[in-house]
Structure formats: structure tokens, C-alpha cells
Symmetry: C3
């Protein structure tokens, strides 16, 4: 379960109460509820970086839904290995790039919703009950009509140029590490030998295997646990120390 | 489980360890642990807005307990559908307004406490073990003597006047939405036709079904998912943008 | 499960996904994930203050690991009552002072890791899978070679002097209560009769059984729920009001 609801209110707990009523034996695991309010891309990235570590058959419910109550659709998606439930605003799309989709359904069958659906809390009234029913084995086709595709966010994939590879910061974590859109395969395509990452034209940092590849307090680029190059500072906070933000350009080239 | 213990310390985790020792198969669901320190009313509102979505027979443990160690009583309350455990300071009272109470007991039977009870952490030493025993089927009468009533907080229910209804902000959520004490029934009592909510004498905002009933960045009053009128800003933070606080007066009338 | 990963990213959720794949029936309880980034002592204290309240046989996984990827060892420790898994940087050592150790193993058997181990996220790739296997009954000797001892942090135990006992603030909780290194036994060694705690040479506060032993807004020293003397302000935030920090000296003597 992934949302932007935060921990302060009763929202996430209430969704779990709804799941417990419908599917008392289903386990709920929190991915995070601290996605920035309405930040669909951050939610999409968190899901993409983690869903593959969950058991086959997991139902991934993602509610980052600034358009709740509008005419955006709501989805249940089945892939070879997983189920995904959430609004059709792109929040599922980074994860689904990695999966083979076998069904996309629009959530329209009210038999699987709570009896009274509010205009403001579909997490509780639609997404939690649908996910609970899915976890109980209700087939995905029961939830509503087929859709041909879903809303997909642009993925700022690495651009390969004459002098190297260009990407951008797509996620900044709790420690200030800046995850870029340059994946491990792109890094490997540059071959062996020392590389450096340019955060600004004249400001390279070395690419190394570990945070400790740089001296304490110094910047280093590491292929991190999400499979993407990330800019880190050994023992420090890279975003703060280097002034990086979501969208900051990062270039990678040979030393 | 609802507390004001926050996520930083070991307090909530330790309560769950205690529950796991006594009742290894009992599931614990967090409602929130981010109630502002000692804010009994906020805890009471969170519980009231959510307990009804939990399975019949749920034990709701609420520890917002600024008087821990003093002579305030501790309670186990049984209603037709649920159990409630917490200090007798009013934190259970908003939820219990909605329930038919069948028993109120003062927690005094030390056989159901941890062997050593601290003066400062009854969540761990009294409330968690009592809740665990309740979840195992120990009848509520075992925990201590009957009480006739519990401490009840005043509910700032809507005041119906000549020109409309007056209420106040009772809760501000993570998104800045300001939940008022004006419930859906009070809104309906004004009949059909356009309504407006006055946050200040000359500052009305429309009442609509959706956050999107206002243009982006504009205020709207919506009957929200908790069953109360809330003041929101489409895509924004109403508390911050409109300067609303707990206790801010909101009037509702015909346009 | 205790970490410094925070709640914002997918890190903790992913560790739980890994546990669910290996050990679908194992329950995971969060102690806290809000240990300050890299604060090994705070993680050690949180664990020490709480592990004893968990069921016999619990696997305690602690990932406060600023040296991830370096050559620090990783441990599985068995005691008479519990298992402990984490980096060998001292984070387990305050808890283990209280336990009888029966085995210490270095985590080196890759058969119990995820197939691909990153350099930056051993919580997911090593500690979570090892803990999951332990919870399934894999004997601790399977995980790697014996170690004679582990890295131990100095415990700033109370120093007994001519005029009383001296300790220091070792942990500051969510409410601002300042837990000292002066344990209940040391307090009792001063005998019965009124005591006072000196935060600065001329600034005593009384020692009492309850937070309410002081008037509202006033300081009091209480043997708290963790078994140590803590400095509190009745209804207030002691750290902020009294200017206390980790390491602040506290002296205890007769009035």
C-alpha cells in the first residue's frame, strides 16, 4: 500500500480497517505513505523501485490521486506476476513498463466498492475494497470493463549522445541521495574504465562501486539499490550539499 | 491502535511486542501515532471518523494520555459492535456518541497488566496487555469494577440559527483540509439549492460535491469522507491559504 | 525491525516484501525507522529499551548502518531468549549487555542473501533475508563462521562519586523527555529520602515518582519506563525548555 496520505490522519488506518473487514487474513504491507502530496511521479518511482521484491501475486494498491472525484478512471491491472490497483493518472506506469500486462480493467462494478462512495476518499471506498477482493481471489474481469491502455508518464530515460549519457534526477531519498534516470545498463554501455558524472559543466564526481569510494564528505556516483545511478555524498546529504533537485541534469562520460 | 507517541521512539513498537506476547495471532492496525502530543480532541476525532470501518469485534486502543500516572481512570468499554480501551479523559467519547454502550469497566485487575507497571508508560504496561487479553476473548467484566459513565468532551455541534448554521473547525488534515463540526444531516436540513460557507463575514465560498467544484487554487466546502463539511482548496492547502485554525468559526447559509 | 531509513522512501516496505517472499507467515513489527541517519547509539538505545518486551524467539533486525558496503562485518547473534541481526558496528551492543549470548556468526553464506547483493542496501539484500530465514527455523550456524565477539559501544554508565552519582543524557524522546544513563539501581543505591537532580551546578530539580510530581511547566526527574532516570517537564518539553542535549551531564544527590 502506497499513498500520499501521510501518517498524521486516520486515512491509511481506515483503509486497512476496510481490508480487514473484507479479507481478514490478508496481510497489508506499507510501502510508504509519505509521497509528497499529489506527486504522481514520486509515487510511480517508489512503486517501480520496489514491487519486484514482493511475492508473486501481491496486490499493489497505490493512491496518489490529486484528481479524486473527477472523471479520471480507476484501474485494476493484472500482469504475469502481480496485481496493481490505483487511479489512472500514470502512478502505476513506471512499474508496468517492467511487466507483461495481461489485463486492464476500469473499476466500475459497485458491488466491490463500499456501499457509500464519497467524492473525496476513494482510497477507502474503492481502492481498498477492490484490493481486498482481489486478494481473496476475485478475478480481475469482475471489477469492470476492459481498457486498451492506461495513462503513462514520460520516463526521462537516459539520452545517449556523442560525449556520453545524459539523464536527470528523478528521486531524492531520505538520506539526500539523488537517484537519476541513468540505469545500470546505460552505465555499462560506456564500457569498462573510469567514468565521471558531471553535475555542472566543470564539476565532475567519480563513479564508484560504494558510497565509500569517495572520501568522507565528498560526492560519488554509484549504481544504487534501485538499479539507477545515484549521486551521493559519503556520510553526507548530496541534495543539500550539491544543490540538486528533481530534474537536475546529470551527464556521464569517460574520465 | 491510536496514540500521540510519534514514530521516532520505541513506544508503539514495544506496545506491539507486548500484544504479540499475549496474543500472538492478533493483528494490530495502526490508525495514527501522530496525534499532536496531548491533544485529546484530535485523538477523539480521529477515532470517531474511522472506527466504524473496522470489523465487528475490533478492540480500539487509544493512548492520548497527558495525565498518565495521575488518578485519572483507565477504561474498557464494550458496545454492540466494538471494544474501546484507553484513559478516561474523553478521548473515547466522540466515537462512543455513535455507539450503544453495553459495559464500562475501570481497569483495576492487575492480573491483566504487565507484572511491573511504570508510572509513565501505561500504553505498554496496562492498555496494550488489556487490549491483547480482550482480543483473546477475556470478557470485559474481568478487568475491573463497573463505571456508570465516562468523561465526555463537549462536541461543538452545529448551532442552527435564523440565517443558517454555525460550526467550527474541529480537525485539520495532512492536506490542509479543515473539517468542521457541521455534519451532513445539518447541511441537508437547509434543503436543496445552492449554499455558501462563510469563513469570515464577507468571504463566502461555494458548497459543492467535489474538491474540483472550485477552480484550481480556489476554496470550496465539501461534505467530506468523515461525514462532515470540510473547507478545502482545489489542489491547495486550505488551512494555510485561508488562515483557518482549530476553532475557526464557519457559517453555512443559502446563497 | 529498526532502521534509520525513515518513512518517506520504499526502503522499509521493500525489506518487508523480501521477508514476505521467504517467510510468508512471519509477522514484522516496526520498532522505529526514525532513528536519526547514522546514529548508531540512538538505535542501540531504542533496541535495548524494548527488546525484552517481545516474545521469546523474536528476531530483532536493526539496520543503522552508515558503513554499508565497507568491510564492517554483518552479524547474527543468538541469546537465551532472542535473535539479533545487524551490522557489527555496536548497534546491537546495548541490548546484548543484558543477554546471555550463545552464538555470534558472521553473515557470509550467500545462499541466504538475495541473489544480487547491492553495495548500498544490505537491509534489503542481506539483513531482511537472513532474518526471514532465521524466523523460519534455519539454525544460526548456517549463516557463516563463528566470531568471538562483536563491536561494543561504550555505555556511559553512572559514575558514583563522593557527593552522588553522575550520568549523562543518552536519549531524547518525542515528548522531549531526556533519558539519562543513571539506572534505577543506581538511584536506589542512594537510599530512601528526598533526592535532587542537578542539570547545572545551581539548578536542581526534584526526583519524584510521576511527571505530575512537579507543578505544570516545572522540571522533575523520574525513573521512566525504560528503567533509567529521565528529566521531564510536567506537560512540557524538557529538552527544549531546559536546553538539554545528548551528552548533557546530570548529577544526582541527596537534597
Amino acid at each position: 500500500m502506497t499513498t500520499d496520505f501521510g501518517a498524521r490522519d486516520w486515512f491509511v488506518g481506515t483503509m486497512k480497517g476496510v481490508v480487514a473487514r473484507i479479507a481478514p487474513k490478508t496481510r497489508v504491507i506499507d510501502l510508504t505513505h509519505e509521497v509528497a502530496a499529489g506527486d504522481i511521479r514520486a509515487g510511480a518511482f517508489a512503486l517501480a523501485a520496489s514491487f519486484g521484491f514482493f511475492p508473486k501475486g501481491t496486490v499493489h494498491v497505490v493512491v496518489v490521486d490529486p484528481g479524486v472525484g473527477s472523471d479520471r478512471k480507476a484501474l485494476a491491472v493484472q500482469t504475469t506476476n502481480h496485481y496493481f490497483v490505483g487511479p489512472d493518472n500514470g502512478v502505476l506506469s513506471f512499474a508496468l513498463r517492467q511487466e507483461r500486462i495481461t489485463a486492464i480493467r476500469s473499476l466500475e462494478n459497485e458491488a466491490y466498492f463500499l456501499p457509500a462512495v464519497s467524492h473525496t476518499f476513494h482510497g477507502r471506498d474503492i481502492f481498498a475494497p477492490v484490493a481486498a477482493h482481489l486478494s481473496q481471489g476475485v478475478p480481475v474481469r469482475k471489477f469492470g470493463p476492459k481498457l486498451k491502455d492506461l495513462v503513462r508518464l514520460d520516463w526521462p530515460g537516459p539520452r545517449v549522445g556523442r560525449k556520453g549519457i545524459e539523464g536527470e534526477v528523478v528521486y531524492i531519498d531520505h538520506f539526500g541521495n539523488c537517484v537519476t534516470s541513468i540505469d545500470a545498463a546505460a552505465v555499462q554501455s560506456l564500457g569498462t574504465g573510469p567514468l565521471e558524472a558531471f553535475l555542472r559543466p566543470r564539476n565532475p564526481c567519480p563513479v564508484g562501486p560504494l558510497y565509500q569510494s569517495a572520501r568522507p564528505g565528498k560526492a560519488v556516483a554509484v549504481v544504487g539499490s534501485s538499479g539507477f545511478l545515484e549521486i551521493a555524498v559519503n556520510g553526507g546529504n548530496a541534495a543539500r550539499q550539491l544543490g540538486l533537485r528533481i530534474g537536475s541534469v546529470v551527464k556521464l562520460g569517460r574520465r
